[in-house]
């Protein structure tokens, strides 16, 4: 038999909205504190090289090798990956630059590595050079994509449900993405976490996931509007959330489980993506109960009080 719960979720709707708002504000504060998001070179332009040395190499030796010469702003980090036994030391060299001529930079870095460590002592596992133009375009195309997505979803939900549901769903999306980005920024403050392309892919996944969750709840509300006609709107929403609660929790648990597995076994290469997913899924599950539905209720109550409409 189906599990029947009767939690009064809507009782805490204002508290929940306040909590969400304050988490967003804290995230924003961190973003402002760090003077904007910490974008990867994919967005800012620059050069990145991941090099694997076959023998163990001291990271400070590598740093010293690049201290002389014109390597202003070079970042050198050790990169550890459980999946690679082949290399003694792996490092990531990164230079953020807005100049178009990355070729020279690339040549100079390779030259230093070749002369100081030997051409046959390491292999380039990956390298990326991005012109600043491409980075700017990537930013604008990502923003464009998100804008159109939100607009079309607003339209679709307005047609299939009502305008207030559409607004609430989009608010839930904004909530999820901004909290996730805020948490990433906090992580960035402490652990140097950057906005990279995989992070964007993860944010998009969260967009889809959160939307899916919200629609399931809304769908039940839509059904109950007809089925439980006459019932107080807030109560009806509460019933709907309770009716879908088992599903929400089961799906949440299942996704959570899979993402944890991805974090453990997925390795360093997709860690940015998986960590972002984990944060987003937790936030997304929460928001379908405590952001989307409360906004609809608050809206409806406001409307109700103002116009004394009969129909809930």
């Amino acid at each position: 038999m189906a599990l029947k719960t009767k939690f009064d979720f809507m009782k805490f709707k204002m508290t929940a909205l306040l909590i969400s708002a304050s988490v967003i504000v804290v995230g924003l504060l961190f973003i402002v504190m760090q003077k904007g998001l910490d974008y990867n070179i994919e967005f800012n332009g620059g050069y990145l090289m991941q090099a694997g040395f076959y023998e163990k190499v001291n990271i400070s030796d590598i740093r010293n090798a690049f201290s002389a010469g014109d390597f202003a702003g070079i970042e050198i980090q050790e990169f550890s990956d459980q999946n690679t036994e082949k290399f003694g030391t792996e490092v990531v060299l990164k230079v953020e630059t807005a100049q178009q001529d990355i070729k020279t930079l690339e040549k100079n870095i390779t030259e230093v590595l070749n002369t100081k460590f030997g051409k046959d002592k390491y292999e380039v596992r990956q390298s990326t050079s991005i012109g600043p133009k491409v980075g700017d375009e990537l930013k604008s195309s990502t923003i464009q994509a998100i804008f159109w997505t939100v607009l079309l979803i607003l339209l679709y939900i307005t047609i299939k449900f009502q305008f207030k549901f559409a607004v609430a769903a989009v608010m839930a999306l904004v909530h999820d993405v901004s909290i996730t980005v805020g948490i990433l920024s906090i992580l960035g403050f402490f652990f140097g976490y950057e906005i990279s392309l995989p992070v964007i892919a993860a944010l998009l996944t969260i967009l889809g996931y959160s939307l899916n969750d919200t629609i399931v709840v809304f769908d039940r509300i839509r059904e109950n509007i007809k089925k439980l006609e006459g019932m107080d709107f807030e109560k009806m929403v509460n019933t709907s959330i309770n009716e879908t609660l088992v599903r929400t929790l089961l799906t949440g648990a299942c996704s959570f489980m899979v993402v944890i597995i991805l974090i453990i076994f997925g390795g360093e290469v997709i860690r940015d993506l998986t960590v972002t997913l984990l944060i987003g899924m937790i936030v997304g599950t929460y928001s379908s109960v405590y952001v989307a539905a409360p906004i609809v209720v608050v809206w409806e109550n406001f409307h109700h009080r103002k116009r004394h409409l009969k129909k809930a």
């Binding site: 046959d120 390298s127 979803i153 597995i261 997709i270």
Partner: protein, 678 residues
């Protein structure tokens, strides 16, 4: 009625499933069959033999290559490479073409985003090149920014601001600005199509399996070269303009005349500037020259002082009498030149930039008139110092490389003067006729062979060459260099030069790491999902798992069938669809449980559950699908990969989660059943 419907559904399923299996067979063979390991070993062997051959020739090895030799070089079973093994490798790679392609992030390779360099294109098209043109183009470039659409318009504005008619530099004299702009615009538009073609030709000959060369927008080309190991070579191959020209070398008298004239104009210019007490760059340059000249003089064992080259000129007397400082003051240009052993003119490596700067001077350009200096492609080394040869040639090319039909790489015979590699080429009939005419008219003169504004050689024309055949000697160099030159000559020149906007190189080991870890993670994740679903929903859970499995199969089959590539973000897309598929089943089963409490019969509960759940699933999948569409439309590379797999997965999800689980439930549930395993 119901039975009949299900029959049709099963038939549709059978068709879809057979199609999916058919689409996936090559993929299975490529990545999972026992053949894979054999082929991988052959691949290592073939890479090893190439690396060893390179080592034998004494060429520089990359880290990857030396590691290969270190790991496998001692193992006897890796050192033999039978011809049939190479055939097997080739056959296997051919088969690969039909299988699901992995993105560069998974298999390693090079990804390039190239943009037509309009600035350079216009410079190439210009009939006259001077400082003013450079200034105007630079102004237009900075104003247009990254927006190529308005670049030409900005060029026009820049011209009119300076009050310079465009026909000073482009098209025929007297032609209107509009007409010139239109023809430049069409040249730019044609640029991208011809460039695509040339790049395809080059890359085909380079021998890369499954390259992808696609236009993106109006001005860009995306090149993906899977499995490329020597990125420097590949970049050059893609990026090299490969503009071959044949130019007649100016006679010695003209050369001397021009050198003296250049000195005179430069001296006058410097005197004028000095008299105005303004220290300018070029004045500073000529002052700084003094030590260099002294060195050149003491270094007479190999190279003689430039002035001795022109012993019959007026400079002779000057040189004899003048001190070094006066020499550089009176002969700002000549003092930078050094005479070589064979009578050629050399410039010290460290003076190269200064000379280039001097030659850009407008007055010097005027003096040169119909002639120009070209630089040798690589320096000669005397006494551990680099010297670059410069040569005065006709500005107008007698013939260009567009008529080359055949080119190859050859090891020059021992009797050849320079030894090393050479590239024999053959011109088409028209080109051959012009070549014969030019060589016939200029017997006794020298013909400079210039590639991308760099002098390769300038042999004496001894007789008229009637058959349109010639040879370019590289003077040393490697086999690869010769082969690449043959490729670019044959494939043709890039009319519009390309600028590299983005370059990503993923080493093969990183790609396989990514595959290994994501496959491992997906397997463990899937296993957990299977346990989760079966524990929750028993037999229905099994149906759900089957539906999930089918969803994945169908999604991969679609990707493979439509020749899409699977990338890391693509895998993320699949993970999301699997998540949504699990969710769809949870929604259905929870709904049925709910309905079971209200409805009388199991069948009516089932029907009501599926019907209601379908509405929910349809809405949630469709909204996510909408997100997929916009992401695909506006996203670039990796985002698109994600969106594509997401959309395909969602379509299949609607089918497998709703139709397939129902079919399976109907199959296992007896009529009038009293209970259901859920």
């Amino acid at each position: 009625m119901k039975e009949h419907n299900n029959m049709i559904r099963w038939i549709i399923f059978a068709i879809l499933f057979s199609w999916a299996i058919y689409a996936l067979i090559p993929t299975y063979q490529t990545y999972f069959s026992s053949e894979k390991q054999t082929v991988e070993k052959i691949k290592i062997k073939s890479d090893l033999s190439k690396a060893l051959a390179k080592q034998e020739r004494g060429e520089d090895l990359t880290g990857l290559e030396s590691n290969l030799i270190k790991t496998y070089g001692e193992k006897a079973d890796y050192l033999s490479l039978a011809p049939e093994e190479i055939e097997k490798l080739a056959a296997f790679e051919k088969q690969n073409l039909k299988s699901l392609a992995l993105g560069l992030d998974l298999q390693g390779g090079m990804h390039l985003v190239l943009e037509i360099d309009y600035d350079q294109l216009l410079k190439n098209k210009a009939t006259k090149k001077d400082k003013q043109l450079e200034d105007i183009l630079a102004a237009a470039k900075s104003r247009a920014g990254s927006d190529k659409e308005i670049y030409l318009a900005e060029v026009k504005t820049a011209f009119s601001e300076k009050n310079v008619p465009m026909n000073n530099y482009f098209g025929r004299s007297g032609e209107s600005d509009e007409k010139i702009l239109a023809s430049l615009d069409s040249a730019a538009k044609k640029g991208i199509t011809t460039t695509l073609e040339v790049l395809r030709n080059r890359i085909d000959q380079f021998g890369i399996a499954e390259p992808s060369i696609q236009p993106r927008g109006k001005h860009r080309i995306v090149v993906e070269l899977p499995g490329v190991k020597d990125e420097e070579r590949a970049t050059k191959l893609v990026n090299q303009a490969a503009f071959l020209e044949f130019k007649i070398v100016a006679d010695n008298e003209i050369l001397q005349q021009k050198v003296n004239d250049i000195d005179i104009v430069l001296k006058n210019q410097n005197d004028y500037l000095e008299s105005n007490a303004i220290s300018t760059d070029s004045a500073a340059v000529s002052k700084a020259e003094t030590p260099a000249v002294t060195e050149a003089k003491t270094d007479t064992s190999k190279a003689t002082d430039a002035t001795k080259l022109f012993s019959d000129s007026a400079a002779d007397t000057t040189a004899a009498a003048a001190t070094d400082e006066e020499l550089s003051k009176n002969n700002p240009f000549k003092s930078l030149l050094v005479g070589g052993q064979r009578g050629e003119i050399l410039v010290k490596g460290k003076n190269k930039l200064k000379v280039e700067e001097l030659l850009k001077n407008d007055n010097v350009r005027n003096v040169l008139g119909n002639h120009e200096f070209v630089w040798k492609n690589k320096p000669d080394v005397y006494n551990n110092e680099e010297y670059y040869e410069i040569l005065l040639v006709d500005k107008k090319a007698s013939l260009d490389g567009t008529s080359i039909v055949e080119a190859s790489a050859n090891l020059a015979g021992d009797n050849s003067a320079t030894g090393g590699w050479e590239v024999p080429f053959e011109l088409n009939r028209d080109g051959g006729r012009v070549f014969a005419e030019v060589t016939g008219k200029n017997v006794g003169k020298r013909l400079a062979i210039i590639l991308d504004n760099k002098l390769y050689m300038a042999p004496n024309i001894q007789v008229r060459i009637p058959n349109g055949r010639g040879v370019i000697t590289l003077g040393g160099g490697t086999a690869e260099e010769a082969r690449d030159m043959a490729i670019v000559l044959k494939a043709g020149a890039l009319e519009a030069p390309l600028e590299i906007m983005e370059k990503r190189i993923i080493g093969p080991s990183l790609g396989s790491d990514a595959i290994n870890s994501s496959v491992k993670a997906s397997l463990v994740g899937s296993l957990l999902v299977v346990i989760f679903m079966i524990a929750l929903y028993k037999l229905s859970g099994v149906f759900a798992v089957i539906a999930l499995f089918l969803n994945t199969i169908f999604t991969l089959a679609s990707l493979s069938y439509f020749k899409a590539t699977l990338t890391l973000p693509g895998i993320a897309g699949i993970v999301l669809t699997i998540g949504m598929a699990v969710d769809a089943n949870i929604i259905i089963f929870e709904r049925i449980k709910e309905e079971l409490g209200e409805k009388n019969t199991i069948l009516s509960a089932l029907n009501a559950g599926y019907d209601r759940a379908f509405v929910t699933i349809f809405d949630s999948n469709l909204t996510t699908f909408i997100a997929g569409i916009t992401l695909y439309q506006f996203g670039t590379g990796p985002v698109r990969g994600f969106a594509l797999t997401l959309m395909i997965g969602l379509i299949w999800n609607m089918y497998t989660a709703v139709v397939m689980t129902r079919l399976l439930t109907d199959l296992f549930m007896k009529k009038n059943a009293k209970s259901i395993s859920i």
